[in-house]
């Protein structure tokens, strides 16, 4: 019976210890991951919003330019 009690005690000490060690490591791993991601993919959240707007602007601009060039080319061609 004492054997059972000591088994229970050791399960408690080891089990609780392990849960804490594991979750502590997870805290560090998560923090590390967040830092690495913040460096590798800097400011990820605002980016989709900001570059999306500028990116949206140049695209039509590029299109306009292209249209202008093409119109000019067509005019040139017709003139000839």
């Amino acid at each position: 019976m004492d054997n059972l009690m000591s088994e229970g005690l050791s399960l408690m000490v080891f089990g609780m210890g392990f849960v804490f060690v594991f979750l502590t490591l997870l805290v560090f791993a998560t923090g590390f991951m967040s830092k690495v991601i913040a460096k590798v993919v800097p400011e990820a959240p605002p980016q989709p919003a900001r570059p999306a707007a500028p990116a949206a602007a140049p695209a039509p601009a590029g299109g306009d330019e292209l249209i202008a060039v093409m119109t000019a080319a067509v005019h040139q061609y017709r003139k000839n």
Partner: protein, 433 residues
């Protein structure tokens, strides 16, 4: 006249045993709690109904082919079973004993002998074998839970993982309580039983069923019923403990808004967690592996169909089979026992200790960080029971300060509790399995 007598002898009224009547009443009580009191109805309805079906006399729905043959078969059937197991006497008890402790080969021979005599596994027995004995159903549910879990609040404040860890103390304290009761001679639990009972304190149904199916299948019915009933009772069990351990000023602490979490972080987190499990605790890999898989499906954004199935259709299907299978374990000879009372008692103690430790840990963390940044009420959410425990924290926070919304802050320790109890389960399986 003889036909009439046969009909009477085959009727339920003639065959029913007092134990079965009590267990049918227990099943009806579970149905009442589920339907009229709204206690975890998704599980208690199938469990209660399964429990009633398992106790229908002579139907043998919850028994294996051999058990049915033993119960219903004539002397020739008993004789052929006995010879298949290598016994001389055809005493049913001796056969049952031999069947339960036989080698796989003799076991199969006995099953064939029963099948030849025309006896088959009961329906609920088949469900149990497929859904729980194989470990499949709790793991699929865990996958669905993973697909429903948002780790954002946890990633925004990873320190809340400590709260999830502290609340697992309830599990291990209960293990000690169970072996203590055995040492005092009040109950008779092995260390495996004690571990399976303790996991009720994790407040996580699938984890409790998974651990019980591996460590103490005989106690599974009582453990599952206790785990799910207490999860339904979280809003009643936790608040008094939380109020007793915190001051009014502490309850009024409002926490800073959580930072935004990028999608990349959310996608990477289940992979980081899986790697950590793979490196440190392979025994928790089935539970946390499925959990991480479900979460990755949710966050990666390219398999929305799979994620949707995992968190809706699949989890519903699995819940039906899981509930009925648990119900099949509510048989009179296993459930009507002083030990069930012990399990119910220890389970609620586990819950209470877990809640208290979470709150105390939150108080300590708050003191270490200057005393005005962590509301100790979120500590109680460390006992998983997602999202009920977090809602309780939120409710108590609003009572103290009507502008204090703690729900998102409490979700961090809440999902940390799920990880914590799965880790605790892995440790138990490793140490005593």
């Amino acid at each position: 006249m003889e036909n009439l007598l046969n009909l009477w002898h085959a009727s339920g009224i003639y065959n029913v045993s007092p134990g079965q009547i009590v267990m049918i009443a227990v099943g009806l009580l579970l149905l009442f709690l589920a339907i009229s009191k709204n206690f975890e109805p998704l599980l208690l309805v199938p469990i209660g109904f399964g429990g009633i079906m398992a106790n229908i006399p002579e139907a043998g729905l919850a028994f294996s082919a051999v058990e049915n043959a033993l119960h219903l078969g004539g002397p020739e059937v008993l004789q052929s079973l006995a010879s298949s197991l290598g016994l001389d006497s055809a005493d049913p008890y001796a056969i049952k004993e031999a069947y339960n402790s036989s080698t796989a080969q003799a076991h199969t021979a006995a099953v064939y002998a029963a099948n030849d005599a025309g006896y088959n596994n009961g329906m609920l027995y088949n469900f149990y074998t497929i859904a729980i004995a194989s470990g499949a159903a709790p793991l699929l549910i865990f996958m669905g839970v993973g697909a429903m879990t948002d780790f954002g609040p946890l990633l925004a404040n990873p320190k809340t993982l400590f709260l999830g860890a502290a609340a697992q103390f309830g599990i291990f304290a209960t293990v000690l309580g169970a072996v203590g009761l055995t040492t005092l001679g009040l109950m008779d639990f092995s260390i495996q039983d004690a571990a399976a009972i303790g996991i009720i304190g994790g407040a996580d149904g699938p984890t409790a069923i998974y651990v019980a199916s591996l460590l103490a299948p005989d106690l599974l019915g009582a453990i599952a019923v206790a785990a799910y009933s207490y999860m339904a009772l979280v809003p009643m069990i936790q608040p008094p403990i939380m109020r007793a351990l915190t001051t009014d000023a502490e309850r009024q602490i409002s926490m800073v808004q959580l930072r935004h979490i990028s999608k990349v972080e959310k996608v990477m987190f289940p992979i980081v967690l899986l790697m950590l499990v793979a490196m440190l605790l392979p025994d928790a890999a089935p539970l946390l592996g499925m959990f991480c898989f479900g979460n990755l499906m949710r966050e990666c954004g390219v398999v929305d169909r799979l994620s949707d199935t995992a968190q809706n259709a699949l989890i519903n299907i699995v819940t039906i089979f899981l509930g009925l299978s648990v119900g099949s374990k509510l048989s009179a000879d296993k459930f009507l026992d002083i030990e069930t009372l012990g399990i119910l008692l220890l389970g609620i103690v586990a819950f209470g200790i877990g809640t208290a430790c979470g709150v105390i840990m939150a108080k300590i963390m708050n003191k270490m960080q200057g005393g005005n940044s962590i509301n100790p009420l979120i500590g109680s959410a460390g006992v998983s029971a997602v999202p009920m425990a977090a809602r309780v924290s939120n409710k108590l926070g609003l009572e103290a300060n009507s502008q204090n919304f703690l729900l998102m802050h409490a979700m961090g320790p809440n999902v940390a509790g799920v990880i914590g109890s799965a880790v605790a389960a892995g440790v138990m399986i490793k140490f005593v399995g």
